[in-house]
């Protein structure tokens, strides 16, 4: 699918597990979105998924230890090293999963449109292109703290309005109550 190289702001095209990913420049995201919707016919925005790659290339460990007081789920044990994943260009990725919906269509072509951004770097909002992006982008803002520029109503959606922090970031600790046991040693 070399035709995808015509996407405005084209950076990279990947084929992985039978899925096509197009990475575009952050600045030209809206242009790329319009192009994909109008020229390539991807009329359906299935999902907006943001991911945090903080400490992605840090040497990592797998598994975790338990002790009588329960388990520290935030700091992993040293069960065994795993292989280092390939580095990522920036901290956050935002993936737009596109789909071409035609009534009675024979197959379902999908495309992942991806941009990369640093913390606090605004991503252009795609609400004018696909209205369904409204809540998806609000969720991405709420959970990951990615500001969407030009969004008409960028407020928290799942957390309370006065919540501090963005829970799905990797530096946001996993909280929770410790499990109660009898306390007997």
């Amino acid at each position: 699918m070399s035709s995808l190289q015509g996407v405005p702001g084209f950076v990279e095209e990947r084929e992985d597990h039978g899925e096509t990913t197009v990475v575009v420049e952050l600045e030209r995201l809206i242009e790329a979105a319009y192009w994909l919707r109008d020229e390539a016919g991807f009329n359906f925005l299935s999902d907006v998924a943001a991911a945090d790659y903080l400490d992605w290339d840090r040497p990592r460990v797998a598994g975790y230890w338990g002790d009588p007081r329960g388990r520290d789920i935030n700091s992993p044990g040293s069960w065994g090293l795993q292989s280092q994943p390939a580095p990522k260009p920036r901290r956050f990725s935002v993936s737009y999963h596109l789909l071409r919906v035609e009534s009675g269509g024979g197959n379902a072509p999908r495309l992942r449109l991806q941009v990369w951004c640093e913390e606090g770097e605004p991503v252009p909002s795609l609400v004018p292109v696909w209205p369904t992006a409204d809540w998806h982008e609000r969720e991405a803002w709420d959970m990951m703290g990615i500001p969407f520029e030009g969004h008409p109503n960028l407020v928290r959606i799942l957390m309370e309005d006065d919540w501090e922090g963005h829970p799905l970031r990797k530096d946001y600790p996993l909280g929770g109550e410790p499990v109660r046991f009898s306390g007997e040693e």
Partner: protein, 165 residues
């Protein structure tokens, strides 16, 4: 389709007909529907026939638990105090049943078939602390016996950990 004028009356026949059928309600506390053999209810720890505990305190069940509701503290068996056939035994074995999601991963994880999920499902208590089951409670014969449907009829092939215990 165009609705017929008397279609509206069909519904009355449906409701009226039900009056002469036996209600499907089960009178629960008096009648208990037998649960199917694979049902996952309250946990049970098992002993060998010679009275030793099957659990060797390996903590695999605790590692497998998605809800982190099992706590195992192992201790060494000594010749004077032999609790399990292996080297070690579970000195403390506790399950917080208010956290348990009854996924049954612990019985899958246990290599010695020491813990299984049995048919009992009436486990509500007045206090959260009463839902922390200790080893003695888990080893004891359950007070209430729940009816279980015929295993030959509904659970062939039987999973191994249910067949042996």
């Amino acid at each position: 389709m165009s609705p017929q004028p008397f279609d509206s009356l069909k519904g009355f026949a449906v409701t009226f007909r039900q009056m002469f059928k036996k209600p499907i309600t089960q009178q629960y506390p008096e009648y208990k529907r037998p649960v199917y053999p694979r049902f996952r209810g309250r946990h049970r720890l098992w002993r060998h026939e010679n009275g030793l505990e099957k659990c060797v305190g390996c903590s695999l069940c605790a590692a497998a638990c998605p809800a982190d509701c099992i706590r195992v503290v192992a201790a060494e068996n000594t010749p004077g105090n032999r609790v399990s056939p292996g080297e070690r035994y579970a000195r403390i074995y506790e399950i917080n049943l208010s956290r348990c999601i009854f996924c049954g991963y612990c019985e899958l994880a246990c290599p010695f078939d020491a813990i299984t999920l049995e048919a009992e499902f009436e486990i509500s208590e007045y206090s959260r602390d009463d839902l922390i089951y200790t080893k003695d409670m888990l080893l004891a014969e359950p007070v209430k016996r729940m009816p279980v449907a015929d295993r030959d009829l509904y659970d062939t092939p039987t999973p191994v950990w249910k067949a042996e215990s």
